[in-house]
């Protein structure tokens, strides 16, 4: 083998090695990003399958609340959200989704005087598999219709969260 032929072989191997490394790096990046992407083992063919995004779950955030509401006043809504997905999400909106109740019983529940203001445009990040507690300042209001038995009550405000990954 002449020196020229030998040099061609070396240059050709380096190019192949470079291409191979680039392909591996791309596949690795895609796998990390999407998680569920898989790479086929057959030469020349690749296959990918997206996971189904799971709903966020909401937990008990009463421990975070502070006594703020009074007739004619406003307070914060506290939300404890868990992201069961393997990818991070951003909560973008919270919408009221039912009757607000209290831990004070029927008299208070009959006239809580409490309302929630739907909120959009949020950017509350929740990491993959993470649980985050956050508040919506001043989004809960109490009217003068609040029953006397509602003093000191913890109100449960049914909500629906919207989020994007």
């Amino acid at each position: 083998m002449s020196l020229r032929a030998a040099l061609k072989i070396v240059v050709a191997d380096k190019a192949r090695v470079a291409l191979a490394l680039a392909a591996l790096a791309l596949l690795a990046t895609a796998a990390v990003t999407l998680g569920s992407w898989t790479v086929g083992s057959s030469a020349g063919n690749g296959y990918a399958k997206a996971v189904t995004a799971q709903n966020l779950t909401l937990g008990d955030a009463t421990a975070s609340t502070t006594a703020q509401l009074y007739p004619g006043g406003t307070g914060d809504l506290w939300v404890k959200v868990t992201n069961p997905n393997s990818f991070a999400v951003t909560v973008t909106g919270v919408t009221g989704a039912g009757t607000i109740t209290s831990d004070k019983g029927a008299a208070c529940n009959a006239s809580t005087g409490v309302t929630f203001t739907n909120t959009s445009g949020l950017s509350q990040a929740v990491g993959a598999g993470a649980t985050v507690t956050f508040s919506l300042a001043g989004k809960v209001a109490m009217s003068n219709a609040s029953d006397n038995s509602c003093q000191g009550a913890v109100f449960t405000v049914p909500v629906t969260l919207t989020a994007t990954s």
Partner: protein, 393 residues
């Protein structure tokens, strides 16, 4: 050729990456559950303090309260000492926005107050009851039982006879309590004051304050005031009585005759003017007389060179004319008498009897009044003789 093939491969990877990125941005999810919010609660009311600002209005104030930093309103209640809820009066009724109010026209009695914070439909715990405030009724009447009242004006006088032992009597109403104290004070125009206190009666009754000395007072207006003090320290309003202190006895200062008919002759229209150092009580000059013109009779008696006369039916006393006007008894009937200020003027009517000419130069009567006459304050006239200025009938 080799480079072109590898560029195509790299372009394919870049396209794949772009497709993967677009897929990631489109993920959306949601979740349902509950958020939580907590209500505050109203603090318990604070016990109000009280004063009787202007009888019978009770001024209340208490510590301001808030809920979550917001001010609250208040409900104020009044109870009897026995614990019976009362209807609270104006200014403190309904929702009170500030931490003070004054209940107007509070009824006589012993009361306790509470406050309660309110906010919308919320009610805080009612405070404990305040200490007792007593709205005590003042005496219904106050009289001086040994003062002199001049019937002409109704003025009540402290005079020389009672100035060191004035006695007043306060009448207390049925609401009077044995735990109350009745008070009395006398104050003159120079702010001299004497005061005293006695236990009030249980129920209606009278309290007599005796031997109050005004020895250090100056003559003039004196105010007597009686009020009730409760054992809570609260005061009733004051029942007042206006008095006038006059301890100076009047004196006779002048007497003079003036001709109206024939000079030097006692005849119809002639006048006799009695002057005192101050106005006298007409009723002490002639019983039942108020000072307006009244019919009298003037009787002259022949006493040689010192003929005298009296105004019959009066206490003016005997006057020595120091002259010889009559030679026998002369009676001037149909005469009249009128008082004005410190003078009493007698105008002769028809005079019957033996008269003669009086002195040319006139004469100076000598008048000795009786001590029956008093001034308006009841001070007796000094009965010393006074020589009048020159005049003649």
């Amino acid at each position: 050729m080799f480079a072109r093939r590898h560029l195509l491969v790299l372009g394919g990877f870049v396209a794949a990456l772009a497709i993967a990125g677009a897929a990631e941005a489109s993920w959306a999810t949601s979740g349902s559950g509950a958020g939580y919010s907590k209500a505050s609660s109203l603090p318990a009311g604070s016990v109000p303090s009280h004063t009787i600002s202007t009888y019978p209005n009770v001024a209340l104030n208490w510590t301001a309260l808030s809920v979550a930093g917001a001010p609250v309103s208040y409900t104020v209640r009044r109870y009897s000492e026995a614990g019976t809820l009362q209807s609270i009066g104006a200014s403190c009724s309904g929702s009170v926005a500030t931490n003070a109010c004054t209940e107007s026209a509070v009824p006589v009695g012993r009361w306790q107050y509470t406050t309660q914070a309110t906010k919308g439909g919320w009610l805080g715990a009612e405070s404990a009851k305040s200490t007792t405030v007593e709205v005590a009724a003042p005496p219904t009447t106050l009289t001086c039982t040994n003062c002199h009242t001049y019937s002409g004006t109704g003025t009540v006088y402290v005079n020389s006879a009672n100035r060191t032992a004035v006695q007043l009597q306060a009448t207390l109403p049925a609401t009077s309590l044995a735990t109350d104290t009745a008070n009395l004070s006398l104050t003159d125009s120079a702010s001299h004051t004497v005061s005293t206190s006695k236990p009030a009666t249980a129920g209606a009754g009278t309290v007599v304050f005796s031997t109050l000395s005004t020895a250090t007072f100056v003559d003039g207006a004196v105010t007597a005031g009686s009020y009730v003090t409760a054992n809570t320290g609260d005061l009733s309003s004051t029942k007042s009585l206006a008095l006038v202190r006059d301890t100076v006895a009047p004196t006779a200062s002048d007497i003079v005759a003036a001709n109206s008919g024939t000079r030097r002759i006692i005849d119809n229209g002639d006048t006799i003017t009695y002057t005192f150092s101050e106005a006298v009580d007409p009723g002490t000059v002639k019983s039942g007389w108020a000072g307006t013109s009244t019919a009298v009779s003037v009787a002259f008696t022949n006493v040689g060179a010192n003929d005298t006369f009296v105004v019959s039916g009066t206490n003016l006393g005997t006057v020595n004319t120091t002259a010889n006007y009559v030679t026998g008894a002369v009676t001037c009937s149909g005469s009249t008498m009128v008082a004005s200020g410190a003078t009493i003027t007698v105008t002769l009517g028809t005079c019957l009897g033996l008269t003669r000419n009086g002195p040319n130069a006139g004469d100076n009567f000598q008048w000795t009044p009786t001590a029956t006459i008093t001034d308006l304050a009841g001070n007796a006239l000094s009965p010393s003789t006074v020589t009048g200025s020159t005049g003649t009938f």
